[in-house]
Amino acid sequence: MLVWILFLLCQVGAPALAQDLCQRDAPNGYKVRISLKTALGEDAYEWNQSEMFFFQATMAFAMRRHFQMETYNVDNIILCVQTSRVSFWFVVTSPDNTTMLIPKADVEKAVRMSRHRINNAFLLSDRTLEFLGIYPTLAAPVNPDTPPWLIVFGVVIGAVCAGIIALLVSSLLQKRRKEKGMTEDGQDEEDMQVKGVENGINLDGTYNRGFTDDDRFTKL
């Protein structure tokens, strides 16, 4: 009888004891905040008891993964202070002694290790599934061997160099051709001025139409 009364008390007392362990601002607990609508918009699922159970299972998995020796169960993860924001507090009890809480630091290590798996389980990200106090490790910057800007720079400066060399060489060739005496290449300004009417506008005298080749102009 006495045993039976004790057993009843334990059944009633255990949850009450659990509630004492998990409370708002518990020293070894973490607050979790979930933003389903921000993450999933129209496809957001409803947060209900089944999801809470899933969370407990995921956390138990994370603790098992980290500690490897100890077998954590869903009962070891205690949740409380649920709000409509969707936020709640949780604490982790040791599998050997349900009254003893796992220290904050160990829980943090476990969460950090399996963060990616936890996020994916709920289709959320570091920003929408927040463990307040555990900051996500940011992605390491990708450092390529050659910075990409240098590549574009190299291409452009190569093109400009080629352009300059082409212009200088072409004018050098032109000068050499002129020196050799080939005068049909008379694009220089001096030639144009000296030659007169046909190659450009005559600045020096009046245009004597007596010497025009009229047939040229009627061909249009």
Binding site: L36, R85, S87, P141, L150, L167, E189, Q193
Partner: protein, 600 residues
Amino acid sequence: MGKDAARAEWDNPMQFVLACVSYAVGLGNVWRFPYLCQMHGGGGFLIPYLLMLVLLGVPLFYMELAIGQKMRLGSIGAWRAINPYLGGVGLASVVTSMYLCLYYNVINAWSFWYLFHSFQSVLPWAECPVNSNLTGHVEECERATPTQYFFYRETLDISGSIEENGGIHMGQALCLLLAWMIVYLFIVKGVKSTGKVVYFTATFPYLVLIIYLIRGVTLHGAINGVKYMFTPKMEQLANPTTWINAATQIFFSLGLGFGSLIAFASYNQYNNNFEKQAIVVSMVNSSTSIFASIVTFSIYGFKATFNYESCLERVRLLLLNTFDLAEDTISLENVIHWIAELNRTHPEQFASLGGRLETCDLEAELDTAVEGTGLAFIVYSEAIKNMPVSQLWSVLYFIMLLLLGMGSMLGNVIAVITPLSDLKFISRYMSTKTLNGLVCLFCLLLGLGFTTHSGNYWFTMFNDYGATFSLLFIVLIEVITVCYIYGIKRFEKDVEDMLGHRLNCYWKIMLAGVSPILLIALFIFYIVNYIQGGTPTYQAWNKELGKSVVTEYPPYAQAFIGLLLASSVCCIPLTALYTYCKKRNLASGKRERTVSTVSA
């Protein structure tokens, strides 16, 4: 002034017009005019602006083109031909243009830097880089914004003040080298190559502006910016600063006094109708300013709306998290309503929010007026990073900045090279290509000083003091020389000789009367402002605070400012004195011979 058998010429008048447009339409149209519009009452600013264009801008532009086309020489030779004592005016123009060449190409170097960095999947100024132990972002970036961090730390690697020099930033030096090589490529064959390049540099920026206009006005929130800009605040017209800023903007936007316009016009044919071209180019320049400011303000509106809505979103999250309400209870529309509601129902909890609750104000966001490099490289890149397909818009934008900057650089460099190549002792020993190369190399080497860690502070000094005051003085002397020393009658006859018809009274009244008076007023204002301003100051970037602080220039920097101003202004009296002494030596006992002006 005889016949120049060997002088190069533009292939057709269109090239000359496009060269002038390319030179006049520069970065100032994009980053200074919208700022002035915003500061001085939006749409109402157009009244003083257009008035100053008619009274000051167009007549002076006309005068410079007339001189260049008549004398067919660069600024030194042209002014020496007008009056031997005032050849110093041309020399002062060349010195001022040289200063401009030195620092202006650094802007092109920055544009290249940003352009090359746009070819990445995530724009580097979109996010803060992570710090070394991967726990958070770099501190300096957290305190400032990612775009500011990218400009001040990664682009410039700026030091804390003008005294701390540091070494040269290699990336900047490479970009500056590229910029000068491109300038050389454009001018290597003189006006033959420049004439072809200006087809592109004058027209392509308009294409980009139109694309940006379409993109800009379709952005969310753009209409807020455009409405803000065009709502005229007529009371600003009573403020004299408005009128002075309008005059100054017209003056510098058209590029008067640098000698570039004289140089461009000197390659014209003698009978070219520069009157029509002067009006066309001035109109095009002003309409481009107005057009560019519509684009700028639509982007401002987008940025302000984006920041305002981000602020509202942050407040919303803060409220949701503090009061643990379900996500869909507060939306962006009713945030303000909920603030009042929660303050009423949960006063103690609300008070615990304290300083974390931001006040979001769209007007305040729109009011942050910025000009200059801050606008182009910080504000604009912040707006671009939030656009969809931001890499494309970034590339387009910086290509436009480059074309505007390069077009103006062409004018600046030609203003230096033309008078130098007119001098007999240079043209005898060097070909144009070698001269061009030497000038570009010289400017590159000196310009490397602007790529050091304190380079931006020297840049700002040159920008603020190198050309502003000296130009006013130069143009004032120019107008007085042409109208009163050379004589308006002689000028009229020269113009009639070139154009075939006389100067009508608009030009005569403006040149001889209105413009000199306005210039004298501007000049007096500048002197008064300078004296009243006290010690000159600059904005130094403070790494710890993550923002700019106002710092005074050290004494040697102030002396350097004085040197900058004096070096160009003193050319005029010193040359007059030199010519006077030379003439006196010749007159006293030596054989009389005509002082030969430069013949090219």
